[in-house]
C-alpha cells in the first residue's frame, strides 16, 4: 500500500496528520486523520467543587469558551437540582447569541470563506482573511472587525469578562441587565441583522452567482447521506441554547428526540487503535464503520445538520433564507418539512443562515421586557449529585456530564464536544475527497491538497477541545504511502 500524509492542516486548531495509503494501482485504499491529544483534563477536574467548572471548562479552549461556560452552568443547574428563573434563561440565551454572531462571522471571513471567495485553486498564501478583504473590499473588512468588537463588548458586558465569562451560576446568572445596557444591546443586535444580511448577499454574489462554485457545492465529492443532529424547541424549531436533541434520518424522518440527560442511552463512542479521538455514533443503529446511509450509526452535528434536524427557524428573515436554501439545493418536502441536504459544502451557507438567526434572536431577546428583570437567580438548596448540560456550540452539540458526591465535589467528568460528534464524518469526507482526487498515482497538486483540507474545514473542526488540545496554528502533513508503507510523497503546510 502507498501512503500520502497531510500534516499540518492550515487554519485549524491544534495540529494534524493525514496518512493516505494507496493500493497497487495507485488508488486510495485508506485514509487516517490523526490529531495529538492533551492529557488529564478529567483528572484535573475530579476532586474540585462542581461550581468551579464553568470557569475551568471555559479554559479548555480559547475559541469557544462561551459554549463550554454555558454547557457547564446548565449541567450545574441539574447537579444542584435548581431551575433558573425565566429572566436568567433569557439573559443566558442573549449572551449566547452574541457569541454565535462573532464566531460564525469569523469562520466565514477567516476560515471557510477563503475557499470560496478566492476559489479552491487560489494559492494558499492568498487563501486567508487578507485575500478575502482584498476581494470583498476594505469596507467589508472593517465591518467584520466592527462586528467582532461590538459582540465581544456584549459578551463582556453580560458575561463579566472579555474572554472567559464568569457570570453563569447554577440556578441563573449573576448579573442583571440594566435598561441602558438593554438599549445598547438592541442597537448592536440591529447592526448584527444588517451585517448578516450583507454577508448572505456576499455569499450569493460570489458563490451562488458562480456556476463553478455551485457545481462544486453540489458535486458528489463532499456528499454523504448520514443522520443529522440538532437542538430544537417544542415546535421543532432550531435553538442554540436549550430544547431537546433531535436526530433525523437521511430521509428527514425523526429518528430520536431526547433530553440532554439521556445522551448516554443514545450515543456511544467507538475507539479506533490509530487515534486517541473517539468516534461517537448512534447506539440504536450501531457502528458499521466509516460508511454513509441509514444503516450506519454515523451522524453529524454541524450548522447543516442543525437546519436538517429542525422543521423551521424561529425568526422571520432566517426562515426566508432557510426556505431559499432548501429550494435552491433541490430538497423535496415530505410531511410538511424539507428533506435533508447532504452536500457537505452547503454547511458554509447553513452557517450564514444561522448567523442571521442568531442576530434576529438577539434582537428579539433584547426587546423582551423581562430581560431587565432583577429576578436572575434561584439559590440552590440541594445537591442532586449528577447533571448533564447540552448546548449547540458553533461546531456541534456540546455535552457536559458531571457526577459528584453529596458535598458537590466532582467524582466524574465527561465531555462530548462539538467537533468530536463529527469525527467519523470528517474522516469520511477526507477519504472521499482523496478517493476522487488521487487516482492511479496522480501527482497531488496544491489545489488537490486544498480540497482534502476543504473537506474538513467545512466542519469548522476545532480539535483543541476535541482532544482537549491547545490553540496552535494547525500545521498539516499529508503522507502518501505505498502498500508497503513507503512514503512516496509528503506534503506539508505550516499553519
Amino acid at each position: 500500500m502507498r501512503r500520502i500524509s497531510i500534516n499540518p492542516i492550515t487554519r485549524l486548531e491544534g495540529h494534524g496528520k493525514i496518512d493516505i495509503f494507496l493500493d497497487e494501482h495507485g488508488n486510495v485504499a485508506n485514509t487516517y486523520f490523526q490529531v495529538p491529544e492533551l492529557r488529564g483534563f478529567e483528572q484535573f477536574c475530579v476532586g474540585r467543587p462542581a461550581e468551579d467548572m464553568p470557569v475551568i471548562t471555559n479554559r479548555i479552549c480559547g475559541v469557544c469558551p462561551e459554549a463550554h461556560h454555558m454547557a457547564s452552568v446548565k449541567a450545574l443547574d441539574r447537579l444542584f437540582g435548581v431551575e433558573p428563573t425565566p429572566a436568567a434563561k433569557k439573559i443566558r440565551e442573549l449572551f449566547y447569541t452574541a457569541f454565535f454572531v462573532t464566531d460564525h462571522t469569523t469562520h466565514f471571513y477567516a476560515l471557510g470563506g477563503p475557499d470560496f471567495i478566492l476559489g479552491p485553486d487560489a494559492p494558499p498564501a492568498e487563501r486567508n482573511i487578507l485575500g478575502v478583504v482584498k476581494k470583498v473590499g476594505i469596507e467589508a473588512g472593517k465591518q467584520v472587525i466592527e462586528c467582532r468588537a461590538r459582540n465581544h463588548h456584549v459578551i463582556q458586558m453580560l458575561g463579566g469578562r472579555g474572554i472567559h465569562p464568569v457570570a453563569g451560576v447554577p440556578g441563573g446568572w449573576s448579573k442583571a441587565v440594566s435598561a441602558a445596557e438593554r438599549a445598547e444591546i438592541e442597537t448592536i443586535a440591529n447592526q448584527n441583522v444588517e451585517f448578516a444580511l450583507f454577508t448572505l448577499k456576499v455569499f450569493d454574489q460570489i458563490v451562488l452567482g458562480n456556476p463553478a462554485y455551485l457545481d462544486l457545492v453540489l458535486s458528489d465529492v463532499y456528499h454523504h447521506r448520514t443522520y443529522s443532529m440538532g437542538t430544537v424547541d417544542e415546535q421543532n424549531r432550531l435553538n442554540f441554547y436549550d430544547g431537546k436533541i433531535r436526530v433525523v434520518d437521511p430521509e428527514g424522518r425523526e429518528f430520536l428526540k431526547y433530553d440532554a440527560s439521556d445522551y448516554a442511552q443514545h450515543i456511544a463512542e467507538r475507539v479506533e487503535p490509530w487515534t486517541y479521538l473517539k468516534f461517537p455514533y448512534l447506539k440504536k443503529i450501531g457502528w458499521k464503520g466509516f460508511v454513509d446511509g441509514a444503516e450506519s450509526g454515523v451522524y453529524t452535528a454541524t450548522p447543516l445538520s442543525r437546519l436538517n434536524a429542525a422543521d423551521r427557524l424561529a425568526t422571520p428573515l432566517a426562515q426566508e433564507q432557510f426556505e431559499r436554501f432548501y429550494q435552491t439545493l433541490g430538497a423535496k418536502t415530505v410531511n410538511g418539512r424539507y428533506q435533508p441536504v447532504h452536500h457537505r459544502l452547503a454547511t458554509h451557507w447553513a452557517r450564514l443562515i444561522e448567523l442571521l438567526y442568531a442576530a434576529e434572536r438577539m434582537q428579539e431577546l433584547a426587546r423582551d421586557p423581562e430581560i431587565t428583570s432583577p429576578e436572575i437567580r434561584k439559590i440552590p438548596q440541594n445537591v442532586a449529585g449528577a447533571g448533564v448540560g447540552c448546548v449547540e456550540a458553533p461546531r456541534g452539540t456540546l455535552t457536559h456530564h458531571y457526577v459528584s458526591d453529596e458535598r458537590a465535589i466532582l467524582t466524574k467528568v465527561n465531555l462530548v464536544v462539538g467537533t468530536t460528534n463529527n469525527h467519523a464524518a470528517i474522516s469520511m469526507s477526507i477519504r472521499r475527497a482523496a478517493e476522487k482526487l488521487i487516482q492511479g498515482f496522480a501527482v497531488v497538486e496544491e489545489g488537490l491538497l486544498n480540497r482534502v483540507e476543504m473537506a474538513f474545514r467545512l466542519y469548522d473542526p476545532c480539535f483543541s477541545c476535541a482532544t482537549h488540545a491547545l490553540p496552535g496554528a494547525m500545521p498539516l502533513m499529508v503522507n502518501i504511502k505505498s502498500q508497503e508503507g513507503e512514503t512516496l510523497k509528503s506534503l506539508r503546510r505550516d499553519g
Binding site: L38, R59, V63, G141, I145, P471
Partner: protein, 164 residues
C-alpha cells in the same frame, strides 16, 4: 509612550501558562504606571491584533515550542520572526502576522513597536496549574527584561529579591 503588555496562554495547561504568570507579576509591579496597560489573553490571531489597537508599543509574552529548543530558553522576537516558528499563540482564525497585515490594511491604529518575549515550553500537553522547573526559572528573567525595556530598572533593584 502608551504601552500594552499582553500575556498569552492557558492558565491550566502547564507551561502554556507562563505568559499569563509573567503578565500577572508585571501587572502588580506596574500598577503605578498609568501609561502601561497589562492584559491576559488566550487567543492569538485577530483577538491579539485587536487588543493592540491604539497603543504605541506592545510587549507580548507567550510560550513557544521550537524544534530542538531547550525548555526555559528565552527569546525576544519580532512579529515577522513568527512565520518560521511554531508558536502556540496562533489562533483559530488567522496567524498573527496575517492579522497584523489585516489591521494595517484596514487602517487600524497598531503599535509601530512590537516585541515578543517567547519562553521555550517543556510541557504544553498536561492539564496543570504549575510550570515545569526549567520554565519556572525563566519567569524572573523575563520579568526583569520587560521591566528594563520599559525603563523600570530602578524599581527592579529595589524589589528584585522579591521577584526571584
Amino acid at each position: 509612550m502608551s504601552t500594552i503588555i499582553i500575556g498569552i496562554g492557558n492558565p491550566v495547561l502547564s507551561d502554556d501558562s507562563v505568559g499569563i504568570k509573567i503578565e500577572h507579576t508585571l501587572a502588580h509591579a506596574l500598577r503605578a504606571r498609568p501609561d502601561v496597560e497589562t492584559r491576559e489573553l488566550w487567543a492569538g490571531g485577530l483577538r491579539l491584533m485587536e487588543a493592540l489597537k491604539g497603543h504605541e508599543r506592545a510587549i507580548i509574552i507567550d510560550a513557544i515550542v521550537t524544534e530542538g529548543g531547550k525548555p526555559g530558553s528565552v527569546y525576544t522576537l519580532k512579529p515577522t520572526d513568527l512565520q518560521q516558528s511554531r508558536n502556540t499563540c496562533s489562533s483559530h482564525d488567522a496567524g498573527f502576522q496575517e492579522a497584523l497585515e489585516l489591521g494595517t490594511m484596514l487602517g487600524l491604529n497598531l503599535p509601530p513597536q512590537i516585541t515578543i518575549w517567547a519562553i521555550e515550553a517543556g510541557d504544553v500537553e498536561t492539564f496543570s496549574e504549575n510550570l515545569t522547573r526549567d520554565v519556572e526559572r525563566a519567569v524572573p528573567i523575563v520579568v526583569e527584561g520587560v521591566m528594563r525595556q520599559i525603563g523600570m530598572e530602578k524599581q527592579l533593584s529595589a524589589s528584585g529579591g522579591e521577584q526571584r
